[in-house]
Every structure is written in structure tokens, then in C-alpha cells.
Amino acid sequence: MTPRDLLPIAVVVGLLALIPLAVTANTVLNFLVFTLVIALAAQGWNLLGGYGGQFSFGHAAFFGTGAYTTAILQVAVGLNPYLGFAAGIATGAAVGFAIGSLSFRSGLRGSYFALVTLAFAEVLRILANAAAFTGGAAGKLIRLDVRPENFQFESRAVFYWIALALVAVVLVLTRAVERSRFGAQLVAVRENEAAARALGVDVLAVKLKAITLSAGITAAAGGFYAQYFLYLDATIAYGPWISVEALLAPIIGGLGTVFGPLVGAVALHGLSELTKGWTGGVPGVDLVIFGVLLIVMVAFAPSGAMGLVRRLAQRWSRPAAARDSRPETAP
């Protein structure tokens, strides 16, 4: 990675970090923190789905595992929440590795992989709803104890900055992956598995690495969610809503791009908040917006907002870019 690779990330994160200095309303900060949590979960999805082409419909499995691990370890065992958060990431990654091992080893691809991940998430949701140690249907409450060393803060701005820092770390991580051998192999697997194998890419190992990393990131979003809202139940943690959010944001923002998930999450939730404001909170209007936006993007900008930006930038920078694509004659 060169400084040039990191500059856009530094600029974007720097600007976002200034927001709490200008806006102090709790509702706005609440909205921003929630959007960043979605962005983080989506960044995890994007590594596997956007770069690796393995579309998971069950990232809730990782989000929920991260959330429950963080919550249960501090409530039941009394572990420090920061350690619980780290353990949540590790457990989420482990669940990712396990689901990946089972499904990729059996050669599941495309819609089969999507369905299997959906099934895993649903099974975990049902188990979490039934088991005693997750609090069952009553859910899990984390005791309010506002102390910084307890990962609980008086000010929502601090939560916002922590969420932003997590998103920033993953932005850098994603950029690093993009610029690495692993990233090139991951994209090669997405584009054509047979060709990748012929070029010495261990397809299974690459997929497993991707799903483990992806699950770890989405688990971090779950752990942070638990710590911010201090309450979990099976539908929040393992419900399909987060699986959908995690895949919608990158699709809207730009699959397999560094900023795609963040742009998508901000666009989706920004728009739905705005329409809620305009319509005076008609129930379900945000879902209508999600649907319309998805249809419009898939139809007119299949490479997402980032792809749209890139295309416009190219049109600006070199209007007569239609270069000859015939190979030269032999030397």
C-alpha cells in the first residue's frame, strides 16, 4: 500500500469524525451510530460477497454470534466488555470458518451457498430463542453501568467515534486486501474458479480465509451493537434483517469496492430517515424506499454508486476513451 491508497480513506474518515462537533442532537447521533454499525457489518459481507463473489444471505449468523458473545461473557462470566468484544470477534470468525468449511468443502456455490448460509443463520436464531444461556425469548440485557472502562459512555459522540474507528480500520484492511496477493486471488476466484485453480490458486483456502475475515468483521458490528443498545434478543441478533442490511449496502454502494458498504449504508439509511421525516413516519415507508432504490440501482447502475462515480469520472477525464482493443501483431 502506498500513501496514495490511504489518502481517500483518511479524508473521508477525517470529515466524518468532525460531525459530532457540529451536531449534538442525540437522535441524529443515534442514527449515525446505527448507520455505522450497518456499514461495518456490510464491510464484512463485502469482503466475501463483493470481492470473493460468494453471496451470503446469512451474515446474521456472524453478527449475532459477535453480539451474544460480547453480552453473555460480561453478564454471565463478568468478563471485561472489551475482552468480551474481542472474544465476540474471534467467536464470530470461528463460526465463519466452520460454516465455510462445511459449505465450501461440499462445493456449494452461488444460490446454494446463499441458501445454506440463510439456513445456518435461521438455525442459530431458533437455538438462541430456545436456549437458556442466551436468555431465550426474553432476550439478554446488559446492565447499565456507564464507565469508559466498561465500554459504556455518557456521550453518544464517543460511541460514534469508536464505531467510526472500527469502520476506518476495516477500510484500511479492505484496501490492504485489495493490494495483496490474497486479494488478487480472491477476485480471481470470483471471476472464474477453474482459471484461478489453473494459475495455482488454492480456491478452498482462499474462500475459507475470506469467510473467516468477513465473519470476524461482521461479528465486530454485532458486538458493538450489543454494547451500544445493551439489549439483544434472537430476532435482533440472528434475524434476517441484518443479513439483508449487510448485503444491500454493498450492492447499492458498489460491490467489491473499499467505500461501497459505507456509501451504501449512508445512502440507504439517510434516504429512509429523510422520507420518514417527509411522510411523518408512515410505517414501513423505509422498506419501500429500500426496495425502490435496489430496483433502480440494479437496473441502471449494477456496479453501485461507486461504479457510477467511476464511470462519470472516466467520462470527464478522457472523453474519447474508445481505444482500439485489438492486440498488436507479433514481434
Binding site: 493490494r179 495483496s180 496477493r181 488478487a184 486471488q185 477476485v187 480471481a188 471471476e191 472464474n192 477453474a194 482459471a195 484461478a196 485453480r197 489453473a198 494459475l199 495455482g200 490458486v201 488454492d202 480456491v203 481505444r323 482493443s325 485489438r326 492486440p327 498488436e328 501483431t329 507479433a330 514481434p331
Partner: protein
């Protein structure tokens, strides 16, 4: 010792025997041809060598070591690279990025891999198209891309599956010196090909496959005269008819 030896390879798909006890050797530094009529099992034998299918029976030896059970990606690491008859570009990536995937096999750092990829792309005549998306290439361009990607893995043995198929005569003329220069650069080549003009001018040795069996092996000129080969291509009794008309050496 041959660089590559296939010993009695058999591949069954259900009731169909695609390759039936085929044996062949490829000597280091040679260009060896594998020819045969349609459906002879050439591509199947090829996939057995490249590790994309496991043989039902028989062995594949590379530099004397048994690699029959090695998966494709590990064979690539050992130094066996293949191209695909039906080109398989990473369509969303640029030409350079496509080749870099191959280059990453022996170059861990991005800068090294990219530099190696560019050098290889220039070698096969894709130097001016480095930043084009692979999906926008012509057929001839895609064939070269297949070649460049395989070459970027620094193979000892390059398996070319009909890299000339679908090209027009002038494009074939451009491609032949590239393949020859690859061999002169120290890479052994095994080529499956339908374009006979190319096989005859490129290959030192040719193995002929028909109905899954090896029916002849030898220099191209001998092969062209071999009655069994002529019959495999033109049907039973063809050799005798050609002989009687005195045109067997055409």
C-alpha cells in the same frame, strides 16, 4: 527421464471411456503435439495431466514424481500451467491484473507481480492493452491472454489447449513464433491442436489419440504417413484408397 510421463491413463465417465490406457511422454525442452479426431479424448487427457480430473486408472509422473493425486493448484506450483480451449478470462479485471494473478504464484509482493505481469504481457504482444478490461478483448486477444496468464506462473511445462482454434490464418501466423519463443525460453510445451499446419511446423514429436487410445507416436512427417492415423481421421480404408491414388504424401 522425461519431464512428463503419462502411464496407462484411463478415464471413465459412467459408461463412456473417454481415455483408454493412454501413455505418452514429453521430453524436456521439446514441443510435443497431441492430436486426434474430434472426441478422441485429447482434452480429457489434458485435464488429467493438469489435475482438473482424477484418472480412473493409471499414473501421471512429473519430473519422475507421481503427481496423480495432486490437485490442480498444487501442480501449478510444481510448474505445470495450462490454458483453456474455451477461454476463461477474469472478465472484470484488466489485462495486466489477469496476468498478475498468474504472476502472484511466484511473486508475493504486488510490485513484483505487476512488473512480471507487464513483462509477460509484452512478450505475447499485449503490451498496448495492459489497462483494457479483459472482457473487451477480441478472440485473438483472449487467446494471447490465456497464454500470458499461464506463462506468468513461470511453468516448466506449458499445456496449450487449442490456442490457435478460432483464429484466422494471419493471426495463426502471428501466434506460432510466440509459441516457439516460449520453448526457446526454456519452457517445455505440450500442445493440443487441430490446426495441422501449426502442429507440423511446431512439434518435434506428435502423439495421436483416437477413441481414447494412443494409435501412433513419432515425428510429424512419420505421423502424416501412418496408415492408422489416416484411417482415424478419414475413415476405414482411406489409407488404402489414398495409396492407390498416389496422393498419400500430400
Amino acid at each position: 527421464m522425461s519431464l512428463l510421463a503419462v502411464e496407462g491413463a484411463t478415464k471413465r465417465f459412467g459408461g463412456l471411456v473417454a481415455v483408454d490406457g493412454a501413455s505418452l511422454t514429453v521430453e524436456e525442452g521439446s514441443i510435443t503435439g497431441l492430436i486426434g479426431p474430434n472426441g478422441a479424448g485429447k482434452t480429457t487427457l489434458f485435464t488429467l495431466i493438469a489435475g482438473f480430473e482424477a484418472p480412473t486408472a493409471g499414473r501421471v509422473l512429473f519430473q519422475g514424481a507421481d503427481i496423480t493425486r495432486e490437485p490442480a493448484h498444487r501442480r501449478a506450483r510444481l510448474g505445470i500451467a495450462r490454458t483453456f480451449q474455451i477461454v476463461q478470462p477474469f472478465a472484470a479485471l484488466t489485462v495486466c491484473e489477469n496476468v498478475a494473478v498468474g504472476a502472484y504464484l511466484r511473486h508475493a509482493a504486488r510490485a513484483d507481480a505487476m512488473a512480471h505481469a507487464q513483462a509477460i504481457a509484452r512478450r505475447v504482444g499485449l503490451g498496448s492493452l495492459l489497462d483494457q478490461p479483459a472482457g473487451s478483448l477480441t478472440v485473438a486477444g483472449r487467446k494471447r491472454l490465456e497464454l500470458a496468464r499461464a506463462l506468468a506462473t513461470d511453468p516448466k511445462l506449458l499445456l496449450l489447449d487449442e490456442v490457435l482454434a478460432g483464429l484466422n490464418p494471419s493471426e495463426i501466423r502471428d501466434m506460432i513464433p510466440i509459441i516457439r519463443s516460449i520453448r526457446d525460453g526454456g519452457v517445455t510445451v505440450l500442445i493440443v491442436e487441430h490446426v495441422m499446419q501449426a502442429v507440423m511446423s511446431l512439434c518435434e514429436r506428435v502423439t495421436v489419440l483416437a477413441q481414447g487410445r494412443v494409435i501412433a507416436t513419432g515425428a510429424p512427417a512419420e505421423i502424416a504417413r501412418d496408415p492408422a492415423v489416416i484411417e482415424a481421421y478419414l475413415g476405414h480404408g482411406a489409407a488404402a484408397r489414398l495409396q492407390s491414388k498416389g496422393t498419400a504424401h500430400a
